[in-house]
């Protein structure tokens, strides 16, 4: 199944960058630490946005007032998360290809993207906020589970 994708993952893991990170003394753990701390911060910021949309936090302030500064922080955090995640993926791509937790995590991230897009095209905000909270929790749990399944 999807042998071209497996080949691409194997190629990525065999690049000097992938191999270098995989076999490094410290670089892998440094990137991993950045990735995990960034998820904690970014998912936290996004949770504040979601809770405001649900009216459970900062409900005395207008929605745009709460959202506009936080969304900028969230996008910056997401960019760093994606970059660090891509490097970690490159280091282990050949193994991660078949990892069920990794596959589900990627699907959950795609679902987050769709949810974001539907919300911005005028979808119901309460549903978007609930889905966002649930999907981010799912991404975090699946990310940790990658290490325990294969």
């Amino acid at each position: 199944m999807l042998s071209w994708l497996l080949a691409a993952c194997q190629w990525l893991a065999a690049t000097p960058l992938g191999t270098g990170i995989r076999e490094s003394d410290n670089l892998f753990s440094v990137i991993e630490t950045i990735h995990v701390l960034d998820i904690a911060g970014t998912a936290g910021v996004i949770a504040i946005v979601d809770l405001r949309l649900l009216g459970m936090l900062f409900s005395q302030s207008e929605v745009p007032e709460v959202l506009s500064p936080l969304v900028k922080v969230a996008w910056f955090g997401f960019a760093l998360m994606a970059a660090s995640g891509l490097l970690l993926f490159g280091a282990e791509a050949a193994d991660l290809y078949a990892n069920p937790a990794f596959r589900w995590k990627m699907l959950a991230i795609i679902a987050l993207g769709l949810n974001q897009w539907i919300f911005h095209t005028g979808g119901p905000r309460v549903l978007a906020a609930v889905l966002s909270l649930g999907l981010w929790l799912t991404v975090i749990v699946l990310g940790r589970a990658i290490a325990y399944v294969s």
Binding site: R22, E23, S24, F28, S29, I146, Y148, V149, S150
Partner: protein, 143 residues
């Protein structure tokens, strides 16, 4: 780690179908009650994060050779203990004291490795909660 967190980690490890190539606590994959000593010839080395692996051909008392996989800590943890990637090469004989995998496969956790030059190195992952666990930077145990 507190008791609850430890139980949570262990339970998660038991729930997951554990094979190799994963980063985890000792108890997720290995049985601390099943010590084993392997003496074998290195056929493959994976000096990799988040765990290193080396593969041995081990001859039993009947002369039958079988392949074993030994899991060790990450390259940084091992090199801080003075075990560098150049210290072992294909064809070298290693003595590995470790613990068997719970699933009964030919996989062990390499807790103590006797390198070709006779030096003993602790091979475990720092803070994995297994026997003789040594957090990074701790003094190696006396042999």
């Amino acid at each position: 780690m507190n008791k609850f967190a430890y139980l949570a980690v262990v339970s998660l490890g038991m729930l997951a179908s554990v094979d190799c190539i994963a980063h985890h606590s000792f108890a997720a994959e290995f049985d601390g009650n099943k010590p084993v000593r392997l003496v074998g010839v290195i056929t493959k080395i994976q000096w990799t994060n988040p765990h290193s692996y080396f593969f041995l051909d081990v001859k039993d008392s009947k002369g039958i050779v079988s392949g074993w996989t030994c899991e060790a800590g990450n390259p940084g943890a091992l090199s801080r203990r003075g075990w560098n990637r150049g210290d072992i090469k294909l064809g070298d004989t290693l003595i590995v004291d470790g613990f068997l995998a719970k699933d009964g496969s030919h996989l062990i956790d390499a807790r103590r490795v006797t390198l070709p030059n006779g030096r003993n190195v602790y091979g475990g992952t720092p803070g994995d909660g297994g026997p003789e666990d040594q957090p990074s930077g701790a003094e190696p145990a006396k042999n």
